[in-house]
Amino acid sequence: MVRPALTGTRIRARRNLRGMRQAELAREIGVSASYLNLIEHNRRKIGPDLLGALAQVLGVSVDALVEDGDSRLVEGARAAAERSSIDQAELERIDEFTGRFPGWAKVLAETQARVERLERVVEQLNDRMTHDPYMGEALHEIISAVTSVQSTATILNDAQEIEPDWQARFHQNILQDSARLAEGAVALVNYLDAGKSEETGLAAPQEEVEAWLAQRDFHLPELESEALDPAQLVAGQIELSSEASRTLAVQWATQFRADSRALPLARFLSALDRVGVAPEIIADEFGVPFDQVLRRFALLPRDALTGRGLPVPGLVICDNSGTILFRRGIDGFALPRFGGACPLWPLYQALQRPFVRLRTPLATAGRLGRPFVTYACSTTRVEMGFGMPTVLQATMLILPADSVTTETESIALSVGASCRTCPQMTCAARREPSILMTAI
């Protein structure tokens, strides 16, 4: 029988209580440290034999490690307390609270979960609204027309007498603004519908390509061999509804094929087994650019990663205008949908130092910030000739810190997704106020 999530959290807590290192416990129960790491982060389900072995080594009953309804309530209440600005919850009496008032605890846990869901929705909507100039313009037009209609209608509805010529002008204005309102609404609906595929509900070509890749789990096995041309692969894909998205997909697939030729799958995995997560060593061994290794690593088959106890990484690519060209999300590290990301990201630091390999431990901002390690580098994307600008491209690979190192690294850098949704109010790099404080 498989165990539900959060069992891992309990195992980790019990191990820490006993002062055991992860590697030590892993050795005792006969698994690799990286596999135990995945279990402790609730990324692997755990079978009864292994659970029994863990319980024995940790000196507790199996029941103490298995998540139950009570522990869900405790975790929910704890999360609510940690996210609250009121630092007065009696955390040491949390078991007593959930035990004595399970109904209230359930309400609190559900409310907390709802707040987190809503915050994610607000982030996404805000991101779309504020970074989409056409939509901003269209909404401005509609609000202006609504303002005029409302103000004029109020005048006409007023009990006071209005001279006939004023009355006629106001009727004319309302007619004009109603037509404008209708046109604006139709234009907005058309805009939102344009290029949108029914399957994905997405609009921009880049989003379509990302959705197409996501459906394939960001791996294109057909291009690992010589068998298929990128254009053939892309042709007829229903997720790619526009010419623009198909063009981008062919570019991406061509890049993927070049990466897989330079770093053949079997040899790359064998190097990974030998040297671990060390993209700099792999780049030197294969004699390829560092960013090519980062891309290859992020787009390996999922099984190849998880089978080695490695997490599926995140990847972000941008050009030197800061425009994000590609993103593959990773749990806990939010990536904005449209530009305007956190200027502290090593991705942007890499643009300032082309060809320099950066390895940066960092944490996401906020009370529940999570530690990550990023690898980043920028290289030339386009050479435009003498006297012309050079276009750079920066690549950043994102990995959970505990998958890269078992030691605790000191983290000096705290980053967000974008200023608008970042909870770090005192950041010197802030461009604008955060809606998390002003709107919620």
Binding site: L139, H140, F170, N173, P433
Partner: protein, 122 residues
């Protein structure tokens, strides 16, 4: 003496409605559809109240406010800023630049009148 209000608003139907309700309130209303053409006149002969749209075709409402607050004759001029952008950042910026009152569109006529009365009360 009749009090004067200048409405700087590029939406003609909105400025017409504002002209009507303010005239009925006893104001002498001047209207301008852009910022540049009125700026010199405004500095030379300031009205008693300025109603200023944020998004104008040439100068933004912020630009105008900045100039007014730097001028001796207009430093204390009551300014009601109207905007279809209700974002918190715009309100913060307007307040930083010294706006007297910030109101988002769509507004209710009664709301505008109440604000105007309050801003120009002796």
């Amino acid at each position: 003496m009749e009090k004067r209000v200048l409405v700087v608003e590029d939406e003609p139907n909105i400025s017409e409605a504002l002209r009507f309700i303010l005239t009925r309130e006893g104001w002498k209303v001047d209207v301008s559809a852009d910022g540049k053409s009125m700026l010199g006149m405004l500095q030379a002969d300031p009205p008693d109240l300025l109603i200023l749209d944020l998004m104008l075709p040439d100068l933004s409402g912020f630009d105008i406010l900045k100039v007014l607050r730097a001028g001796d004759g207009t430093r204390e001029l009551p300014v009601l800023m109207l905007t279809a952008k209700g974002q918190a950042a715009d309100r913060v910026e307007a307040e930083r630049l010294g706006v007297t009152r910030f109101m988002t569109k769509p507004f209710a006529n009664a709301e505008v009148i109440a604000a105007v009365r309050e801003m120009t009360a002796p």
